[in-house]
Point group: C2
Chain length 328, copies 2
Amino acid sequence: MQNSIRIGIAGYGNLGRGVETAIHKNPDLQLVGIFTRRAPESVSPCFAETAVFHMDSLSDFQDKIDVLILCGGSKDDLPQQGPVLASQFNIVDSFDTHARIPEYYASVDAPATVNKKTALISIGWDPGMFSINRLFGEALLPDGETYTFWGKGLSQGHSDAIRRVDGVKAGVQYTIPSNDAIEQVRSGARPVLSTKDKHTRECYVVLAEGADAAAVEQAIVTMPDYFADYNTTVNFIDEATLAKDHQRMPHGGFVIRSGNTSDEQKQVLEFSLKLDSNPEFTASILVAYARACYRLNQMQQYGAKTAYDVAPGLLSMKSPEQLRAELL
Amino acid sequence: MQNSIRIGIAGYGNLGRGVETAIHKNPDLQLVGIFTRRAPESVSPCFAETAVFHMDSLSDFQDKIDVLILCGGSKDDLPQQGPVLASQFNIVDSFDTHARIPEYYASVDAPATVNKKTALISIGWDPGMFSINRLFGEALLPDGETYTFWGKGLSQGHSDAIRRVDGVKAGVQYTIPSNDAIEQVRSGARPVLSTKDKHTRECYVVLAEGADAAAVEQAIVTMPDYFADYNTTVNFIDEATLAKDHQRMPHGGFVIRSGNTSDEQKQVLEFSLKLDSNPEFTASILVAYARACYRLNQMQQYGAKTAYDVAPGLLSMKSPEQLRAELL
C-alpha cells in the first residue's frame, strides 16, 4: 500500500508555484509533477527535483496521480478543463466567479459522478474559508447580520483597470477595509453597509512621460464600476518605488457575524486573514483540501463537492483519535 | 412526513434555558419539552408554552424526539447520562473536560453504534468552534504555531476559588487576554508564550464584615494553581456593585495561527468571539449541531462524533443548492 497521496499540478503560474511549495510542507503528500501548456523545458520549477510534463500527457498519468490540483484561471481555463479532467482524475480547484458556481458545479458533477471521481471546487479563502465562516455565522446566530470585508489587498482587476487609463505607465490598486465600518460592526450595532461603505481604494501610479497627473487622477477616480462609487486616492510614484514597494501580493479580510441570542445578549463572531502572499495561502488551502479529496474518494463520495461538504477532520494529517486527544 | 426536527432538552440550568431560547430562533426545529430531575411543576420555563417533564419519563419519548440535547455538567452529569441516553436517542452535548474526551467518546460510541444512534459530543465553542479553528490553522499552515487566548470572560472555577477564601463574602473573577501578547502573535513573530503570559486575572471581591482586605488580597494572589503564577489584581467592591455590574456571563477569546508558506511569506489566521452570554452562545451552537446530528443519523452515520466529523453544510437551514448559490 502506498504511504503518501500523489499530487499533480495542472497549470504553473503563481498559484501552481504556491502549490509546489506547499506540498513540501506536507510530508504525507508527494508531488508527481507539474503539467503545463508551455514547452516543459521552458519551465523552471521552484525545486530542482520537480518533474515537468506537457499538459497533453496528463491522461498517461491516470494511475499515477491520486489528486490533480487545477491552478488555472476561473475565466478561461477552469470552465474548459474542469469538466474534462474531472472525468479522469479526482480534482481540486479554486473556481472563484461566485455568480457562476452553480453552473460550474453542474458541469463538473456529472462527469465526476459517472467516473467515480471526487471534484472539490471553489476552494480557497473566498470562496472557501470565508464561505465556511459566513455559514457558521448564519447557523450559530440565525438572528444576525454577516459582513465581509476584503483587504488590505492587491486587487488584480482594479490594477488592470488603472493600467488601461491613458497616461498611466504602470500601477497597482489596493482595497482597504474601512476601520470605522469594522468597529461599528464589532460593536454589535448591525449597521446597514454597502460594499463601498466598507472599503476605500488606494492607487499607486507611475505616469507615462509627458502625462498630465491631474487628468489621470480624474480619469481614475471617476471610472464607473471600478472607482466612481468609492473613496479613491491616487498616489503618483516612480518606477523604482513601484518595483521596490509594490511587488508583493498581500491580501486578507474579515468575516464578521453580529447577532443576538436573545434581546439583551449580543454575540460577535469574527474570522480574519492577514496574508503576505495571496497565491501562496490559496495554494496551501488547495493542498489541504487535496488530502480531503483523496479521503472522500476513498469513502466513495463521488461527484462535485465544495468546502461546505468537507468535515474539518478530513483536512488534517492527524488521525481522528489523535485529533480528539490533542486538539479538540 | 414531519416538517421539523423534534428536540428535547435534558437538564434545565443556564445552558438548558439557552437551548430553549435558541430553538425559537430556528424555525425548522420544534421543542418537545424540557426533562428535569426536579419536580416538573417547580420549573418555570422561559416560554409559557414549553412543556416540562420529569427526567424519569424520558424513555416514553423515544419515538417523539429526534435529537436530545444534554445540558448537564461535564463533571458529574454527562459521564452518567451520556452512555445511557445515547442508547435511546440521538444526542448532542457540550462535554468540555478536554483531558477526558477520548474516554467519554468511547463510553458513548459503543451504545450509540449498537443502537444506530448518532452522538455529537463536546460541542460548543471550546471544545467546538475553537477546536475547528485550531485544526484549520494546523492543516492550512503546517509550518506555524497556534495560540488560544480566552476572555475577557467570567471564569466559574476561579470565582468559586475566590469565594472559598476566608473573609470573602462574594466575588467573581475575569480572565483577561493580554493585548501585548495578542499583538505579538498577530505580527507573525511566533513568540513562545505560556498560558500565564497570555492572560491576566481580575478579581472583584465583597469582603465579609470585619475582614482584613490586605490579608484577603494576599491569600488570593498567592493561591497556588489558580492565581500564584498569574498577574492578578484584586478590586474590593460592595454588594450593590456586584449585583449591578457583575451578574452577566460574558466570555470569548481568540484562536490565532501564525505560519509561513515559504521563508519570506507570513500568513496569519484569526478566529475570535466576543460574547455577552457564554451559556446562550454555547446553547445556540448545540442547537445548530442538533440539526446536523439529525441529518447524520438519517445518513446512517452512527456512533460518537465530534465537531471534526461534521461538514459545515449540515449545520445550515438552507439546502446545499441554496448554500452554493447564495453563500459560497
